[in-house]
Symmetry: D2
């Protein structure tokens, strides 16, 4: 079993425990070291709770990377956004493979540097675009690859949430506070937090490459400093077109990522809150509901399905699937079947392009 | 009971029978005269089927309007788009109230002229934006009026259909052929056919006035001459923002008009294919499903609800509700509670603005 | 156009206007006479509202039947249950075809007598089991007829409502009061009101004939005199089995009639609150959603579909479809494609068998 | 961290890996020993794959229990049904706590003996009625406890599956073969496999105690030796009534466990295939959808919710919740918050009562 260290994921940061549980679920790797917080006392408290040895709890990522080099297989970076870059860098510099949360970095220059470092040192660098881990997202991808939809003409991907419909960032809410703080989140709020999931998911599933975009970023909640909503028109290399909508101020929405794809032979629809079902309509025929685990699953997707049809799998299983693929690459050199540093870099460039377009009155930006 | 004449609605034009059934449903008016086709023989055949007197079947709208003036209360115009203008004009010129199908006219100059004629002659001029007739659309409108959503921040209205995902216009398909013909439809295809419903519905429900838009019209199906898909970014007088998406090439979609509205106190969602339910989430509380006919219906909406909760009403009932309000204005001078000629004019201006924006690279157009 | 008279359907009895609107919708027949209430003043008030001639408003059904014989084609009986029998009888005795609301009569002896009268005098006698008028119910029937489900093994039909979860019958509520009164409803409450719909629908769709049943009728609301809930185990001539559940005390349910049928080649599911969709699963394949109006509709069902796919039809259209078939038989001698007096008789026998079984401790009763 | 051994769960028995993953998910316990098959070679192969020490892989449960006594905290029994009894017995006899799959035993005498052994030796004995581990099932239970539904009047719990709509047991299908074999499953097929989940769930959520039942067990698939479908009428200590339906021959159903509860103040509905949502209708008000993780969650349920609202949890999380509570009792003496041996015993008695009732023509059996 692989061994890993974690950077970030301290108290109040639920995402740390999500990564740990995802890694435990399939027995992929064992946590052995950590720097969970900028505050060593907090790191020690969490380390004790998790049963880690005291001498493997560190004050800084740099110290940890230096001393754990050779003793851990990879590091998981789950800090706030602005701290991703130095954390990833120190790990790579010490020869440690890295899984980093998204959005990858604050600037594309940072991302380019990290991607270059990983490439030069032949280290595995991955980014947790979790939704790519859902079996039915994989099923959609495989169906499109084998031509079930024909040529894709239009993609509509939306990701509305509602939890920031109130000004939580002034109430002491941990998650909201750093995300809404321009210094800590990296210049955008919801575009980084949810919009980048959309950016990753569309080409992952469709194989389309984005060539142009025009974006309007909105701040719907008065007093907020960054975007909490946005609409993006897209064009792809094949001539296909699309539109993205993301929001964290869509009052009443929970976590409503939805992907709809229309081709000349059929249409597909997938909804994250009901992740085990994929809705497929071959042109001129009735809509079909493909269930995770059912015989019509294609082999690549089926490999990521663990429980029988009708026994729901959830978000954590999607997370675990990303990690299982990541660990397989580290351990056996399996072909990467997870979001890579290059994908993370493209996500940061997407953010920068959207910001530029929006500042210029929704002008078209080549991508 | 009022008496009416019909222009258009001949063989293959299902919408004629829809208007007739809608008028019959609530016993609002009786059909007494018609010019159903450019071909008098066809008009006579339909007239015979409908039990009309032979001498009240006419070769041209002009003849009918002249000879029926005083004998019919109103005329229903259900021709192809380009024939709306002359048909409405001749009716108004002869003192006949008019209900016209949408999109109202081909140019806004035509629409302005007709609106002016109606105003000057104190005639009732209405346009069948049917979806405003659904009781739960009315319920949404009343809930917003009384403040259930607080200040509206964002509106997402989409209307995808899939029936034009194939090149039906070259197969002899009646509906597709005239709609896709630039000469008969008036310069746009799907924007007129479904996009205008979106344009009407949003201000009807929210009370917001559109001030700016930026549009991209797409032709997704190869060989088609006009738009079959489009995305429109919007801004309103209150500062609220929105986005519209319409399509007739969304493979596998049926008639999926959906309206979502987000305010600072709550969110609303309504879906045309399940028209008897309205989904309302007060901020911080569970989502509620309001059922047509249930006690929580507000009085204005309830007045348009005819069957008990759980006994579905449909599209024809929405149609009939528009006509009931229209007839009440003609018969009793009731305040107009239906889409008017002014609304139709605004819809044509919307089309023109979208076309201009799209031609100019999705530039912002004041509205 | 046929002419008809109505018995019952006075103030507070919404079902009268439903029948009238259903008959108007497709232009099947024109109301010309009525005895809407036991109180002639009320009948006159309603008649005036409906534009009937004063001399065609009657104090009693008997008087009306006698004086309208030859002048009306049929009568519609929408009184409370116990008055069905004398009203139908007087109409048949005067040579008037009859459409009667359900449950048909209070005793099976009454029903037998009426069925015999109609047969002897070659009159059309029908009963408004409305749900058989839905196009997708027809589609299910045709799919089963042509073998899509193979041999049927099990049927689950349920019809829960919640409006009688409170003791409305002691609050002056018109609908509840007569239904819950043993003298006026005929010995059962919900079994007659909703349970009989289940009894009719199952053989209509499946072609199965009930051979045995075991029932438990419940009174869930304290103080109520009759059943408001019941469960019935069934067996059919082919060896297939089934279960029915009906309720009017299922708190929170609206009008949730659901039919599920399982055969050795496939399964079907239909839900009355979403009547335009039929869910079909061929064994070993994905579930399909068949939409009313779509190409996969079979011809018999399609003949009852009026608006394009995605433009919802509702309960009133189902009602109108029953009437259209009824009128076609009267007018053109078309083969009866509607629920007949025999069906009504079978429904009353079903009620009697259920009551007997329930009194005998859920014993099995041959049917 | 606790240590455990596993009995059963060999190749083809997917449930073994489910239990192992569920125990890994929350880090509750570590697998250290196993007797996965009657065939030691198979046990060794699986043990090697799971990284167990060779000397902790055993030929028989008895040997394992004897040699591991004191070295493991508990044993997990996931054999076919008929082997539960001896496996549990040998573990308890050696002082090892036990988690056993359901149905608990073949006869109630066996279950009584095991429950007595556990009581006498103060060992924890639990049964994996998984569905009780879902947070929204807990939420329903707490809402009922605090009176949100008032007095419960009727319960409808159904559990249809369709995977045995074909004669899989003669095709070599592992899961089907032992379940459908009277010798290995213990006299019933689907009643044990899915019916017992219904039996457990209803009192768990409602607090009602079953006092009488009348059952009809069906064999819908020709050639099958045991039941694959059944309907059960129930009565409870408070006078409330209910009905259960279970099936594994409901063609097209996946895993459609649904629980509906009707009280005098409200109704609740929960569907296993959409486990994160609970539908609640307070009498006279709109239906509400309560989402797992949302503020309206009650504390007991919230304690079992791990990921934020809108990030779906699934079946494995429910499983893990059962284990977390089980381990808390073993480790800290926490009050048992999981299905116990007594619950398992009641389930076996339920099976026996249903079989007896069905043999006697659906007669009423006191429970």
């Amino acid at each position: 079993m692989l061994k890993y260290a974690m950077i970030g994921g301290g108290p109040g940061a639920f995402v740390g425990s999500v990564h740990r549980n995802a890694l435990a679920l399939n027995g992929d790797a064992k946590l052995v070291a950590g720097c969970f917080s900028r505050d060593l006392e907090k790191t020690r408290a969490i380390g004790a709770e998790l049963g880690l040895a005291e001498d493997r709890l560190y004050a800084t990522p740099e110290e940890m990377a230096r001393l754990e080099a050779g003793d851990v297989d990879f590091a998981v970076i789950v800090t706030s956004n602005e701290a991703h870059y130095p954390s990833v860098k120190t790990c790579l510099a010490n020869g440690i493979h890295v899984m980093c949360d998204k959005p990858f970095t604050v600037t594309s220059a940072q991302a380019e540097e990290l991607v270059g470092m990983a490439r030069d040192s032949e280290l595995v660098l991955a980014v947790t675009y979790t939704y790519a881990g859902y079996p039915m997202v994989r099923q959609a991808r495989e169906m499109i690859e084998r031509g079930d939809l024909g040529e894709i003409r239009f993609v509509n991907c939306e990701y509305p949430q509602g939890w920031l419909a109130e000004m939580l960032e002034t109430t002491g809410h941990t998650q909201a506070t750093w995300r809404a703080d321009p210094k800590r989140s990296g210049g955008v709020l919801s575009l980084g937090d949810v919009g980048t999931h959309v950016e990753y998911l569309v080409p992952f599933v469709t194989g389309l490459n984005l060539t142009r975009l025009a974006a309007r970023l909105d701040t719907l909640v008065e007093g907020r400093l960054l975007d909490d909503n946005g609409t993006i028109l897209t064009e792809y290399d094949t001539g296909a077109r699309g539109m993205y909508w993301y929001s964290q101020a869509a009052t009443g929405c929970v976590n409503e990522l939805k992907l709809r794809i229309y081709g000349d032979k059929g249409g597909l629809e997938w909804f994250q809150e009901d992740p085990d079902h994929l809705h497929y309509t071959p042109i001129g025929q009735p809509k079909q509901t493909i269930v995770r685990g059912a015989p019509e699953m294609l082999p690549g997707a089926m490999a990521y399905s663990h429980t029988p049809a009708g026994h729901p799998e959830g978000w954590l299983q999607a997370f675990a699937n990303i990690y299982t693929a990541f660990c397989a690459t580290i351990e056996h050199g399996a072909a990467p079947d997870f979001p890579t540093g290059e994908d993370g870099l493209r996500g940061v460039r997407f953010i920068e392009a959207c910001v530029e377009s929006s500042r210029n009155g929704t002008s078209w930006i080549d991508f």
